[in-house]
């Protein structure tokens, strides 16, 4: 098998690289420790984050590194958490104590980010979190934790704000909603937010259904949705179950007036390929979309697509942007001292540069370390002549020119 030979080549190269890497690196590098789920059930998202960050680091280093530090290069070290908290903690310890990293980033899984944030805080090493969205992460009173992405209460808030706007714009009354979500830290967090917002918005909840994301058959859940017959279906799913749900719903001809997903599995590059036309008209909330109306965004995406063969997604953009936030902080800190980097991060007010492919205009952290400008967009999956694509529809200012959202689903 061809791939086997390739594998051996890769292994040999890797061994050489590892052997060489330790010796070759000069003093003037800034070490960043990055903990991601690179194997196990979340390997897919881990890889996307890694590739986005690889690209960012490459760009920053090629552009002359950190000028305030004499052109120091950023060196990214990756570690595999396997989505397990104890492995994440072990790797954080290793990064800090053995690799002497100046900063930590990661860890995608909220379950890993919690304990890692405690480790970072204890050692006083800044922990820049691109995407773990659980509110709690920046609500622990920690000084060294910074998050780029919006927290989950903002996601759910925007999903409902979007729904209200659509009701008005299309003059359609939405009365009932259904919540279907993976039974994990993430899904539960979203469901909690939804319940509150539904009550405030005067919607009737006709279904509140957690499901195990290891389920092998989701048609019972789809049946349940069908019978509950909600106007709007809210989903929070990982990739495998997002694909399964979408395809099964198409099979059973379940068509609520709108389906509003929560990124994650629905934003996974595999999702579009594996659902095809079944995902048509689905709304999804994301941090970023390829058609965002920002200079440089499409160029960055094209470059990424050329390198790795798929589009940038919201999570990978957060990961990408995080590296520029870091570079900016380093320029201002003029030091590799973690405390100085932390203070510089806290004082971040980034409004220019490649990081500004994000949908909003500045990156600034509030006292808790949360990026206070982090905003979300809603996209709709639709085919307007060039195959299925993700089209930004909300907020209205960001909506793709000449696109009229399809609401309710025909």
């Amino acid at each position: 098998m061809q791939s086997n030979r390739q594998l051996i080549c890769i292994m040999i190269t890797a061994a050489l690289v590892i052997a060489g890497a330790h010796a070759a690196l000069a003093q003037t590098t800034i070490k960043v420790g990055n903990i991601l789920p690179l194997s196990g059930p979340s390997a897919s998202v881990g890889l996307q984050n890694k590739q986005a960050q690889d690209m960012a680091i490459q760009e920053i280093n090629d552009a002359g590194g950190i000028k305030a530090l004499g052109g120091a290069k950023i060196q990214m070290l990756y570690a595999d958490s396997e989505s397990k908290p104890e492995k994440g903690v072990a790797e954080a310890e290793r990064f800090i104590n053995t690799e002497k990293v100046n900063i930590l980033t990661g860890a995608w899984n909220s379950a890993v980010s919690y304990p890692v944030s405690a480790v970072a805080e204890r050692y006083g090493i800044p922990f820049l979190v691109p995407v773990s969205v659980a509110d709690k992460i920046t609500e622990q009173g920690f000084k060294y934790v910074f998050r780029i992405a919006a927290k989950d209460s903002w996601w759910t808030r925007d999903q409902f704000a979007f729904l209200k706007d659509m009701e008005k714009e299309f003059n359609t009354k939405i009365a009932t909603v259904a919540f279907v979500y993976e039974n994990g830290d993430w899904g539960k967090g979203f469901a909690e937010g939804w319940k509150k917002l539904a009550q405030q918005g005067g919607y009737k909840v006709v279904l509140d259904e957690p499901y195990p994301s290891t389920a092998t058959d989701l048609s019972p859940v789809v049946q349940k949705i069908k019978r509950a017959n909600p106007d709007v279906l809210f989903l929070t799913s990982n990739a495998a179950d997002a694909i399964l749900l979408t395809n099964t719903m198409a099979e059973y001809k379940v068509k609520p007036k709108a389906i509003i997903a929560s990124g994650g599995g629905h934003a996974d590059p595999s999702f579009m390929k594996a659902t095809g036309k079944n995902a048509r008209y689905l709304f999804d909330i994301v941090e970023w979309e390829t058609d965002v109306n920002k200079p440089g965004a499409d160029k960055t995406n094209e470059k990424f697509k050329k390198l790795y063969g798929y589009n940038l997604a919201g999570e990978s953009v957060d990961a990408y942007v995080a590296m520029y936030v870091l570079a900016d902080a380093l320029e201002r800190a003029k030091s590799t001292d973690p405390k100085a980097i932390r203070d510089a991060l806290a004082a971040t007010k980034l409004t220019t540069g490649p990081a500004m492919i994000v949908g909003y205009d500045a990156i600034e952290f509030d006292a808790s370390g949360q990026n206070k400008h982090a905003a979300l967009v809603m996209i709709q999956i639709n085919d307007i002549g060039k195959g299925m694509e993700r089209i930004t529809v909300w907020p209205k200012v960001s909506r793709r020119a000449n696109y009229k959202p399809v609401f309710p689903t025909p």
């Binding site: 292994m11 595999d80 304990p115 405690a118």
Partner: protein, 335 residues
């Protein structure tokens, strides 16, 4: 020097080295790896009481780790009870669950027993994932519980440095090894071995095999739960998928089988081999070739099983005896 003293000497040296190690290993990274190594050695030694001596293959011990971790964490978070006390409450609770699991399953043999324990542990995990509140107790379902690192100190079972954790788990390991040694020489130990090897013969010799196994299970689940508390206090975050995962149950069994189950040294030897394989292969290959570390782990498992199916303890003991024999001219006690 008498031969028995000479045979005990290496143990003393080993203990001294273990206690002095933090002086040499100043890197918190390696200390961390060592702590996890000892933790797994402890867990496996506890498992060994059932899985080794009683001759069955339990594959659900993660449930006890989880029960221990949850009990002490809930008690300390919601009632301000010191984890040290919670640790023993968790142990007792876990013991009870162990006996309940043991009652029906010990009647089964071989494959059935292994599968039933898997199902039990998975069932308990799924329960925890479904329960947010159990009466007044906040379990928090799949989101788990986080222990804020606010109060440090011995009373709170929480420390800023690694050394205290290292010594705690080392003492725990030493204690459980001593206990295992004592049990292996006691009536219960003999009864477990007999019941495991030839249940009918054992029964005719006055042994209520099921009782002996239940006693072992009670102890084993008690001890395993103590490690659960350690785990929770060490990582400061628990959720069902971490502290109750099948991976833990499996890893414990692997360590025992690789080291040599049913022996006292086996679990420690197994942990000494497997933990570093798992840690270092993840560290060196985890980033460049995702999954390669688990492939290496799998290969090591297979190789050891193919060439030393009774575990590494056997050849190593032989080697050790021979070396001791050379040194002091003693042929050692036959086993």
């Amino acid at each position: 020097m008498t031969p028995s003293l000479a045979r005990g000497l290496p143990l003393v040296v080993l203990a001294l080295v273990a206690f002095g190690l933090p002086l040499a290993v100043t890197s918190a990274t390696y200390l961390h790896i060592l702590i996890l190594l000892f933790l797994y050695a402890y867990l496996t030694t506890s498992w060994n009481l059932v899985g080794g001596f009683a001759g069955v293959l339990p594959l659900g011990h993660a449930a006890f780790v989880g029960i221990g971790a949850y009990t002490s964490t809930i008690l300390s978070l919601q009632y301000g009870v010191s984890p040290w006390i919670g640790m023993f409450v968790g142990g007792l609770l876990s013991s009870l669950v162990g006996v309940i699991i043991g009652l029906p399953t010990f009647k089964m043999r071989g494959a059935y027993f292994a599968l039933a324990t898997i199902a039990f542990a998975e069932g308990i995990r799924v329960m925890f994932e479904n329960i947010d509140y159990l009466g007044p107790l906040q379990i928090n379902g799949p989101r788990g519980l986080q222990i804020p690192p606010l109060k440090t100190g011995l009373v709170h079972f929480m420390f800023a440095d690694k050394e205290p954790y290292y010594y705690i788990i080392l003492v725990m390991l030493a204690a459980v090894l001593a206990l295992t040694w004592a049990i292996s020489r006691s009536k219960l130990g003999y009864y477990l071995v007999a019941g495991g090897e030839e249940p009918e013969a054992a029964q005719s010799l006055g042994i209520n095999v099921a009782h002996a196994k239940l006693a072992a299970m009670a102890m084993s689940s008690f001890l395993t739960a103590l490690a659960g508390t350690f785990w929770a206090q060490f990582t400061l975050y628990i959720h069902p998928k971490s502290v109750m995962s099948l991976d833990i149950s499996f890893e414990i069994a692997f360590i025992a089988l690789i080291g040599g189950r049913g022996s006292i040294a086996g679990p420690v030897l197994g942990a000494l081999l497997l933990r570093p394989v798992s840690d270092f292969s993840r560290i060196y290959f985890g980033d460049t070739l995702p999954g390669l570390h688990l492939i290496i782990f799998g290969v090591v498992l297979i190789l050891v099983m193919l060439y030393q199916p009774r575990g590494l303890q056997e050849p190593l003991t032989r080697l050790y005896r021979r070396a001791m024999g050379r040194l002091i001219g003693d042929r050692g006690a036959p086993g």
